[in-house]
Amino acid sequence: MFLFRSLPGVPLPVLSLLLPIAAAFLPLGFYIYKRIKCWHKYEECVCEINLRFLKIFFLAVLIANIFLTWSVWTSMGKGGTELFVLSSGGWSNTLSPDSPMLIKAVLQVDVFGAMSAFLMGCVALIAGLAAMADKNEKINISKAGFFLTTLVGIQGIFYSGDLLSLFMFILVSQIGASGLYHGIVTTKEELKELIWYYLSRSTALLMFLVGVALFYYNYRTTNIAVLSTVIKLGTNEKLAYAFLVVPLFFMFVKSSSYVTDSSKRVFFAIRAQAALFVVFRIVFSLYGPLPGLEKIPNLFILLGLILLVASLVLTANEKDPVKFAEASELFMKGFLVISMGISISGTYAAQAAAEYGFGAIESMVALWILFLPVSATLSFVCCTLKQKTDHGELWQEQGLFRVMPITGVAFFFAVCVIAGLPPFVGFPSKQFLYRSSSYITPLLTIFLLIAALLMLIMSIRYISKLMFGKLSGDPDNIRNHDVQVIFPLIILFIFLVYSTVTPALFINSMVSPSVYSLLNKGQLVNAIHQGGVSE
């Protein structure tokens, strides 16, 4: 009854969450109903549905999601933060620190979250289009359901302002990702096979829950805005820091196992991006530069360096395109983690912030935004190259550029963005990082430059092996593989080219407002004490 009473005042971000929730429940609910029915009658379950209807429904939900997330983003003021609180009295924009127990749900939408949700919505649509065009692994009811479940979880992560609701949405996105990875587990043998996967994911989720519980035990609230104003770093808070950050950091680095379905890989990349978003929220919005956390920046820089070295080792002489894509993504993750370490270190003092902190955060956010479109491009290209041909797989051919020019150009473009070759859009984001890293130590800058150069050389060598030379297979057969991903690739290509030729627009409209909203903790305090909405 309470939910029905609160329906008329439902704010737009809540609506944009409810839509994919309802849409995910429909196909999954139908699938589960069918299975129960078959199980009851001891029949073999055949869950068939009109494929055209399913595709139209899936497409309609993804497009509606884009419109809703776009509306949320455009309705946000520059750098503003809006709170949507569901309390006993229904929805409001005011969060009372005196009565957190009465609050049933809190959404905290800022420019960073709103922009991320819109970007994720666009990439999800592109992945959905690729899934619908895939002739080898056709879309079915459970696949569509799991795609939408993952989408719900991740959208919720971007809009959550509460640690407990973050946990709930991480759990939902994990259910979706597990379903995408191996489908619904029906036999004991399948469960046995996946036991270590489930164990690691359950451990990660449990750790996060322990972190949330520690905060609730100490402060009787799990709201990030409230906590950031009252937090004092003690043993429990330090433990909570490790419990909250470690599982999400792990999910970011190891976002997926070896998967050759491009649309699934894209959803795993979206999930990796969302995991890092939660780390940003905890590190910057909840804790901030508290005394006692001075060693954390160095740890992040160290972890980033390990990731960079590992990615270079994994890329060297790699032939499998999907493994190559994984290694390239690891390279981007390494740069991101290093930029995060420098950013945290730059927030401890006003002078450091002015000298390099702000630039490092801009670099971090720009790299974070680019991570998704670039890894989506890599996924489409590399999974296309994994497709079967008469002689084996497509990547074992040479001279592919003549029959797959768009794939070739997109691959080259993605690699240049990853390596930060000027004037591609990866360069503006990396040049902030090079500048900031020299304040930590010039050796770090030199290492980053050398790593980027090595990555570029190895990637260009890999592309040239595939794209140039004499074609041995049937050109028409190969061209057909390319056609399936042309539309998603063109959209991603337009985004990358557009942001390359207009870096000013990219930085001003997407990066700077996100940095402002991520750092400006005072706004959250205003939101609590001055009646919710702040400009």
Binding site: E362, Q396, R461
Partner: protein
């Protein structure tokens, strides 16, 4: 025409980039010309048969790094409990960074 767009710290100077590109294009064309002249019109050496398996031979460092990956790194990745192990190691690293005092003023 505005040739310089300024966005915070980033300056986008089209004419400077154009010069760099023209120079790079010149160098690139010259390298291609030299390679083609040496190999008789083909960028990739003729002795290479189709397929990456028999493609360009890896260099010395690539072979060493590849060996390191296969012999040292891969066995760890193949362990079924490598994910749990990674989480534990990460937790330990964070615990050490959060709870040790040495080096912090």
């Amino acid at each position: 025409m505005i040739s310089t767009l300024e966005t915070g710290y980033f300056i986008w100077n089209f004419s400077a980039w154009l010069k760099i590109f023209l120079l790079s294009a010149g160098v690139f064309c010259m390298i291609i010309f030299i390679i083609k002249k040496r190999t008789g019109g083909s960028l990739v050496s003729n002795k290479l048969s189709p397929g990456c398996e028999n493609g360009l031979e890896p260099g010395f460092f690539e072979r060493k790094v590849s060996l390191f990956r296969i012999r040292i790194m891969q066995p760890w990745f193949d362990f079924p409990f490598s994910h749990i192990l990674s989480i534990l190691v990460l937790f330990l690293l964070f615990a050490v960074a959060l709870f040790t005092k040495s080096g912090v003023e």
